[in-house]
């Protein structure tokens, strides 16, 4: 597309781009608002941050008639929150590591498992394929609470309860990845496969040589999305990990009280970074697409 616009770049296009730009800017501001708020507030003193929270809570309890308002400019810019997160209270650092311990294996595992399965479900014909896949989808759409009790019992039987693997293993085998990749692999033209078969390549080679290179973008997006999903996971650790020292950061950040608010903001900033970095790293795959598609 870019190239084409390059060829016949006229006033109309310029205007269009300008419109695009402004629109995107507007949307972006809307989206960035909370982050901005969080970052600015993370530089407030403990008490100052707590005040906002108390104000809200008391407002929702109806003890006040004060109007709430966003406070972007701290009265006293301090890094005390970061200081206490980094130096004084290592438990938040440990929580961060717990998050990583839980998330990384899931991401890696799921990518491996999902690509294999997706290949099968999309490119290989075998009995009950679509029915199985149906079940995949439906089970995936079940809310968490439904299968919770049997899950709990099962994990207990397997002796995984209270271990990281109680969260990691189900995470790895979540059907989301399969579903996503399958959808993308479907869109890879059959001709490639046929060509490969004619060249006498085995199924694994087909998978490795032809399909895999073409759904880089999909895999990147999978990695990002899975990471995000599990990075924000709250319910499962809360239930399957009895030991609070194993809780990930997301749990702490999902329920906060007034005196921890300042800390939470600081933690939140740290919490955001990995996801953003990973996104930035994989981002170009998303748009890169298939350049070599024409050449054969």
């Amino acid at each position: 597309m870019e190239r084409r616009e390059g060829m016949k770049s006229s006033k109309k296009n310029k205007l269009k781009n300008l419109l695009k730009f402004t629109f995107l800017l507007a949307v972006t501001i809307m989206l960035l608002f909370p982050v901005f708020y969080m970052i600015t507030n993370s530089f407030m003193s403990k008490q100052e941050a707590a005040n906002t929270y108390n104000l809200i809570s008391s407002a929702s309890e109806g003890n006040t008639n004060k109007m709430l308002s966003f406070k972007f400019i701290p009265d006293m810019v301090t890094a005390t929150q970061y200081y206490s997160v980094f130096f004084k209270e290592p438990k938040y650092l440990l929580m961060f590591w717990n998050s990583i311990i839980i998330t990384l294996p899931i991401v890696l595992g799921q990518i491996v498992v999902a690509t294999l399965a997706a290949f099968a479900f999309s490119k290989l014909r075998f009995p009950f394929r679509d029915k199985i896949f149906f079940i995949y989808i439906i089970v995936m759409m079940m809310p968490f609470q439904v299968t919770l009790v049997p899950n709990y019992i099962m994990l207990k039987e397997l002796g995984l309860l209270g271990k990281y693997s109680a969260i990691i293993l189900p995470g790895i085998f979540s059907t989301f990845g399969v579903f996503l990749l399958r959808q993308f692999m479907k869109s890879i033209p059959e001709e490639y496969m046929e060509a490969g078969k004619i060249d006498g390549a085995g199924y694994f080679q087909l998978f490795y040589k032809i399909v895999l290179p073409q759904c880089k973008g999909a895999m990147a997006s999978l990695a990002i999305l899975v990471f995000i999903d599990n990075w924000n996971m709250v319910e499962q650790p809360l239930i399957f990990l009895k030991d609070e020292s194993m809780y990930p950061l997301s749990i702490f950040l999902s329920r906060i009280n007034s005196e921890e608010l300042g800390l939470a903001f600081a933690c939140g900033v740290i919490y955001m970074l990995p996801t953003l970095l990973i996104y930035l790293y994989g981002e170009n795959y998303l748009v890169e697409g298939i350049q070599l598609s024409g050449i054969k």
Binding site: S58, G62, L94, I101, Y152, L161
Partner: protein, 451 residues
């Protein structure tokens, strides 16, 4: 260069993962399935344990051992829920910890969840059990759908506590310890008129439970679990709300208002200031017969304490709020032992929590009478399990003196309470009318019942 980075990165990560997972590993507190003969009970905080301590013995070889959740209510509730659902959890369930905390939010939902067993067979089999010994009305609060799921240990009667001096100083005179609704309203009105300038609070509404208890204490039972009927959207309830907003709320001060952190609206602030000047509100609410709460407050001299049973809306009856109801879970291995344990608790003379004050009055009549005598000073405090060095304070004396035979019970349900308070807050803020509030509460309660 690039590879150096990569390898370093991976190396670091590996180290981190290993080190951290190991550092967590050594703190595993996995409670393995012991096949010792034992029954467990979950207790919120170990301080309360003294209340159970005497009973935590062994019952024909079955050891009772408590699991403490050092004051982490949320943790306790989550774990209790989950474990009961997956057929684990404690053998004996206690609905409340003390007056202020309900471990089980709504008792009858628990009863209807098939996780508890029917206690009637045990009672019938029990030779020592004499129905006359128990307060029948309160005992029946444990029955749901013709099955007895709970045995209550205590019941509480909401009462207003103050001291004679305070009443005299502010020339409030109340005839007798039993108020009619009208007396109560009139007192509030007069107070409002006389004190409008001074902006003082007549009632210290501890934890904002006043309205809840007024509702609980009213003639019509607004919510019926077994028949899934709610009567919140009735004229009674609406007028009750109106009375509350117009006369009672203006003269009350909740403890959130007395908490400095809470940002107060100006008029509340005025109340607040005044209270800080005068030391404390003129009267304290002491709810659910939790009379010792005054220990915490400024009013230290209990000599001329006065207790007034909270007026009942509609008629002069008194309603008891069952506390500390004990049930046995269906997964319990040693049900008989569990039953014995509960009976022992209920009959035990130890109705209060060591230093902290009693959470209610005993359902077991002999014990109730005993505490009456203790209040009258006929028997030593230790006989009702009070800490010897803690004098039975005036409130309890009076309270025991005036606590009457209750005519019915009202079950406290946190879930419904939350609905009521949230809607009433809006009503008081003026964003909705009383009718709307009543309607909202009614619909939510219906939702809740029909779930």
């Amino acid at each position: 260069m690039k590879y150096k980075y990569k390898s370093l990165f991976i190396f670091l990560l590996l180290i981190s993962l290993i080190s951290i997972s190991s550092c967590n590993a050594n703190k595993k507190v996995e409670k393995s399935e012991t096949n010792r003969k034992e029954i467990t009970i979950y207790i919120l905080c170990s301080k309360v344990a003294s209340r159970y301590s005497f009973a935590l013995g062994s019952y024909d070889g079955v050891q009772v051992n408590p699991v403490y959740f050092d004051d982490n209510l949320e943790k306790l509730q989550n774990r209790l829920n989950l474990e009961l659902m997956v057929g684990e959890g404690p053998d004996v369930v206690c609905t409340t910890d003390d007056r202020t905390t309900d471990i089980v939010k709504s008792v009858y939902k628990l009863a209807s969840s098939n996780t508890l067993i029917d206690l009637n067979p045990f009672m019938n089999a029990d030779k020592k059990y004499k129905e006359a010994d128990y307060n029948k009305i309160i005992m029946n609060s444990g029955i749901y759908n013709a099955k007895r799921f709970f045995i209550p240990r205590l019941y509480a009667v909401p009462a207003l506590i103050t001291t004679k001096e305070k009443l005299d100083v502010n020339d409030i005179n109340i005839s007798g310890n039993r108020w009619s609704w009208e007396d109560f309203l009139n007192t509030c009105k007069n107070f409002m008129i006389t004190r409008k300038d001074k902006r003082q609070a007549l009632i210290f509404d501890y934890e904002g439970k006043l309205l809840i208890d007024l509702i609980a204490n009213s003639k019509t039972q607004f919510i019926d679990y077994s028949s899934k009927v709610t009567k919140f959207n009735t004229r009674d309830f609406i007028s009750l709300l109106k009375d509350y907003k117009d006369y009672i709320y203006p003269v009350t001060m909740t403890d959130t208002e007395s908490n400095e952190n809470a940002l107060l609206a100006d008029d509340n602030l005025a109340v607040m200031r005044n209270i800080q000047e005068t030391g404390d509100p003129l009267t304290y609410m002491a709810l659910d017969g939790y009379l010792g709460m005054m220990d915490g407050n400024a009013n230290q001299d209990q000599k001329n304490s006065e207790a007034y049973i909270l007026p009942s809306y509609g008629n002069g009856d008194i309603y008891g709020l069952p506390r500390e109801m004990f049930g046995i879970t269906s997964r319990c291995k040693y049900k008989q032992a569990a039953y014995d344990f509960i009976q022992n608790l209920v009959k035990s003379t130890n109705i209060n929590i060591g230093h902290s004050p009693i959470a209610g009055v005993a359902v077991y009549k002999p014990l109730f009478n005993l505490s009456l005598e203790a209040a009258a000073g006929k028997v030593p405090l230790t006989d009702i399990g009070m800490h010897p060095n803690r004098a039975l304070n005036g409130n309890e004396k009076i309270f025991f003196g005036i606590v009457p035979e209750v005519s019915d019970f009202r079950m406290n349900d946190e879930t419904v309470n939350e609905m009521i308070t949230s809607s009433v807050d809006k009503y008081i803020k003026g964003s909705i009318t009383a009718e709307q509030a009543a309607n909202e509460i009614d619909r939510k309660a219906k939702l809740f019942l029909n779930e």
